[in-house]
């Protein structure tokens, strides 16, 4: 600070300058850490996506190659499909579940137990989750053997645990609990007086949902579904453990690229990773925008 600045400031109106620099020093370790282990490695991906792997000059070759490679496009497509399916499906089911527990007239302990279950289930993922569903839905799994005993074997009707539909069912296990956890405050924010005011003005409960409750909840529901989309889009360990890397998801492809240049082109690997970050960033932005909108309403 210059002497001129000091004159302008009223004495003691704000912390003395040397205290300010102490505070700056105090937050430095965090920023140093974040730069070294988060921002620098991440920016490496961005930089190398636009870098020729031989000459190190600037190029759009890697990005363009993404759109030419049917294998990679296919991986993106399957990842997007599975994320759409499980975010919408998990979102709808999670919403119904949260609504049933909070406003469905169930005993109140149901709500707190559901919240604890969902806290566990949304964190119970990866390898053990994959195994739990192998125990349930593999050809020798518990549910399949029950169904076989009833004379119906889903494996004779095109079902397998290790491909698209099977993986979707497994993903739902952490998708709908996440929906419950995030949407619950929004449902709590739905004030009872709105229902009463609506009834008082002559509306049926369908009309209440059509004109009041759904419009109020829709941004939260959509926003949370977007978050679920990202949650599933970035998932790796569950799919890897379940299918042993046999399903062609973006994360799996990046995993095998990391193990040993499986795409045969390092630049392409970076571009693929960058593509994931872009999709995730879009998702988080969408979520934030929608979340802001509801916060205004549900204060």
């Amino acid at each position: 600070m210059t002497a001129l600045d000091e004159k302008r400031d009223a004495p003691l109106a704000r912390p003395a300058p040397h205290k300010m620099s102490w505070a700056w020093l105090g937050v430095m370790p965090f920023f140093l850490f974040a730069f070294l282990f988060l921002i620098y490695p991440s920016s490496t991906i961005v930089v190398r996506s636009f870098q020729d792997s031989v000459t190190h000059g600037f190029t759009l070759k890697n990005i363009l190659a993404l759109f030419d490679n049917h294998y990679i496009l296919g991986a993106y497509w399957i990842s997007i499909e599975i994320s759409l399916l499980t975010s919408v499906g998990g979102g709808i089911f999670g919403f119904l579940l949260a609504y049933a527990a909070i406003r469905g007239g169930l005993p109140s302990f149901m709500r707190s137990s559901l919240m604890t279950f969902c806290g566990v289930a949304s964190n119970f993922a990866g390898v053990p989750l994959a195994f739990a569903f192998i125990a349930l839905l593999s050809p020798t799994g518990l549910l399949i053997s029950w169904l076989r005993a009833l004379g119906y074997n889903p494996y004779f009707h095109g079902f397998t645990l290790y491909t698209f539909w099977g993986l979707s069912i497994v993903y739902m296990y952490f998708q709908f609990p996440l929906m419950v956890l995030i949407i619950a405050p929004a449902i709590d924010g739905l004030r009872r007086e709105w229902l009463e005011a609506s009834e008082n003005l002559g509306a049926s409960s369908f009309q209440y949902w059509r004109y009041v409750a759904l419009p109020i909840l829709l941004p939260s529901i959509m926003g949370t579904m977007i978050l679920l989309f990202g949650n599933s889009f970035g998932a790796f360990a569950t799919a890897q453990a379940l299918t042993g890397g046999q399903i062609n998801l973006v994360t799996i492809v990046i995993g095998s690229q990391l193990r040993g240049d499986a795409l045969g082109d390092p630049g392409l690997g970076y571009a693929m990773a960058l593509g994931m970050v872009v999709v995730m960033a879009l998702a988080i932005t969408g979520y934030t925008v929608l979340q802001r909108r509801t916060e205004r309403w549900l204060r």
Partner: protein, 260 residues
């Protein structure tokens, strides 16, 4: 509520409960079948007597504890100073703590491995890199938990009150701030614990001993022991969440985790 609604609520709830418990039930039953013809805890005994399990699991616990310690040392002072002294850096910090949400774990590890496997930054084999990675992955939960804790106690007023009573910085931090955000730190710590124990990608690609990669490997080798490990892993997650719910009772905030 009307009667019809309640029936629907029960139906939805029962489907949810089945979805939640059936895979666990299947795993549990399967884990008891290690001895032919009888139900036994043989698989669990095998797991606990397997030196490889003990070795990998102990390392996971070590990683988890290190991550929690690093996280607390790094995030508590930062969150406190950001709230109190340098609020202009607030949005920068929020952006950074959200980044691990935006960057999928596999992409993050990809970047980490590629960055630190060339000189002069050849530390890909150091456990420090693994712990740093875990700290990043648990950052959204740990930092946010601490920040929420600080927000709920109104640090500014507390700090000013303590200062007006003559307290120095050390006393403010250790007598006033830390005891009041103990619950928030604990929930962040247990959530981090659950995340690190279940985390597969980092240890796998940095080739370090850990529970999840070991279990993934066992799935291909054995049948009943992985089932037992899945149940153990589930019980640990449950315990961590249960402790969070227990210590956090009253401020009733559900934690949302990750690591899929």
């Amino acid at each position: 509520m009307r009667r019809g609604n309640r029936i629907w609520s029960w139906i939805v709830m029962i489907i949810g409960i089945l979805y939640f418990f059936l895979p666990l039930l299947a795993t549990f039953i399967f884990s008891l079948k290690a001895k032919l013809g009888v139900l036994s805890f043989q698989a669990y005994a095998n797991v606990f007597h397997d030196p490889a399990f003990v070795y990998n699991f102990s390392y996971s616990v070590l990683w988890a504890i290190s991550t929690i310690v690093v996280g607390i040392l790094l995030f508590v002072p930062t969150a406190y100073l950001i709230r109190l002294r340098v609020p202009k850096l607030r949005s920068a910090v929020e952006f950074i703590t959200l980044l691990p949400f935006v960057i999928p774990a596999i992409v993050f590890v990809f970047g980490l491995v590629r960055t630190f496997s060339h000189p002069p930054l050849l530390i890909v084999n150091s456990p420090a890199l693994l712990i740093a990675g875990y700290t990043v992955l648990s950052m959204p939960y740990m930092y946010r938990s601490i920040d929420t804790g600080l927000r709920s106690i109104d640090v500014r007023t507390l700090t000013e009150a303590a200062q007006s009573l003559g307290a120095g910085w050390g006393s403010i931090l250790f007598d006033i701030i830390l005891p009041n955000i103990r619950v928030a730190i604990l929930s962040g710590a247990f959530l981090s614990f659950a995340i690190v124990i279940g985390e597969y990608i980092l240890a796998q690609y940095l080739a370090k001993p850990a529970f999840a990669p070991y279990m993934a490997y066992q799935i291909q080798q054995k049948a009943y022991e992985p089932a037992a490990m899945a149940i153990i892993s589930f019980a640990l997650t449950w315990a961590a969440m249960g402790i969070i719910a227990l210590v956090g009772r009253g401020n009733g905030q559900a934690q949302v985790g990750g690591g899929h």
